[in-house]
């Protein structure tokens, strides 16, 4: 009755999984900077969201290539999905920072 998920769960090293929190920090900071860039450039509507998606793709590509060396399943329990997924928090962070910078630069004189 040992499903493959059980046997591979036995091989996960818990302190390393905790260290993967660094990945969350990277995602948060990249969404902050993407929001700032979108706001400063004055991007509106779908252009801003396109920038966000581009930033997600480029960040995850860099982590995939440099850190995970092409094998995210070895480093992240969730595999490629967990690498790319920005998380609900970061989407709202992007919108907040985007609105903030857009307002500071383009709305206020």
């Amino acid at each position: 009755m040992a499903t493959p998920a059980d046997t591979s769960a036995q091989l996960v090293f818990a302190p390393n999984v905790l260290h993967n929190q660094a990945l969350n920090s990277v995602k948060f900071l990249s969404s902050c900077f993407a929001g700032a860039v979108a706001g400063i450039l004055g991007l509106e509507n779908w252009l801003g969201f396109a920038l966000f998606i581009a930033s997600i793709i480029s960040t995850s590509f860099i982590i995939y290539a440099v850190n995970c060396r092409g094998k995210p399943a070895r480093y992240l329990p969730g595999g490629l999905g967990e690498l790319i997924n920005p998380g609900q928090d970061n989407i709202f962070t992007f919108i907040l920072v985007w609105t903030l910078f857009y307002g500071i630069i383009h709305v206020y004189d």
Partner: protein, 271 residues
């Protein structure tokens, strides 16, 4: 309507935009530390009670990897049988082996002081979470009402007009010009990431998380507490141990053959 641009006083930016964000960040951090300070240290269990819980945990750990077990058969069977007999005889029970005549009564959650502490702690954190949000919303509604604060860079439907432009009675203005309450909502959702960065993953400043968790966490925290009949748990665990023993197989079994095959010294089809 699309190229129309309102001119906003820069003082609004200085005195409303930044202060609201700053206040929300600081209140979040304050809330986290208040919760940390309010948390009473976990009640120390007596040695017998700890032993009883740990015995259950030991058996669960043993069972968890039984199909691919890292320990050799002699060890596994010895531990398993030892635990099994101990559960049956009740040597690990907190109050000693069961008497046989008096059925053990599950402690009432209201009278058991340990479970009460758990419930009180949960309710205290809930109070601390909700009160600052209400206060800040009231503060914003009182002081920062009736003017346009910022323009959203993305469009929204007309349905949002009533929520985001509260206090500004212009039927024609673009929904993208919003009042300060909507800035509060943006901050409410957007600052969670910042809290996670500065306060660590398990912070208590995360407001939207306890909105979703609050009805269920209060229930869930009282259930797996003290009122557990360990005798019944031990009996169930005995059955589980037997089942796991049936599933048991050692990862190192036939290791000689596997290694020889891996290094090519033995053909694959020979036994």
């Amino acid at each position: 309507m699309d190229r129309l641009s309102l001119y906003l006083d820069p003082q609004i930016r200085d005195w409303v935009l930044f202060p609201i964000t700053l206040v929300m960040i600081l209140v979040g951090v304050l809330r986290h530390y208040v919760v940390v300070l309010l948390q009473s240290p976990p009640k120390k269990l007596s040695r017998a009670a700890t032993r009883e819980q740990r015995a259950l945990t030991r058996s669960q750990i043993l069972r968890a990897t039984s199909a691919n077990s890292p320990i050799p058969p002699s060890f596994y069977k010895a531990i398993s049988q030892n635990l099994s007999e101990a559960f049956k005889a009740g040597t690990y029970l907190k109050d000693g082996p069961p008497k046989g005549d008096a059925p053990p009564s599950a402690p009432n959650p209201l009278s058991d002081p340990a479970a009460m502490d758990g419930m009180m702690a949960g309710m205290k954190t809930q109070m601390v979470m909700m009160v600052p949000q209400m206060v800040i919303m009231g503060w914003i509604n009182f002081f920062f009402q009736g003017f346009v604060l910022i323009k959203l860079p993305f469009p929204l439907t007309l349905g949002f007009k009533s929520m985001l432009q509260r206090g500004i009675d212009t039927p024609d203005m673009d929904v993208r010009w919003v009042s300060s309450l909507s800035w509060y909502f943006l901050n409410f959702f957007g600052l969670n990431g910042l809290y996670r960065l500065i306060l660590g993953g398990d912070n208590s400043a995360d407001a939207s998380r306890d909105m979703t968790a609050s009805p269920f966490a209060a229930m869930g925290n009282t259930q797996p507490g003290q009122p557990q009949d360990f005798n019944k748990l031990f009996k169930a665990e005995r059955d589980n141990l037997e089942f796991a023993e049936g599933l048991y197989s050692w990862v190192g079994e036939n290791m000689e053959t596997k290694i020889l095959r891996k290094y090519g010294k033995l053909p694959y089809d020979s036994k």
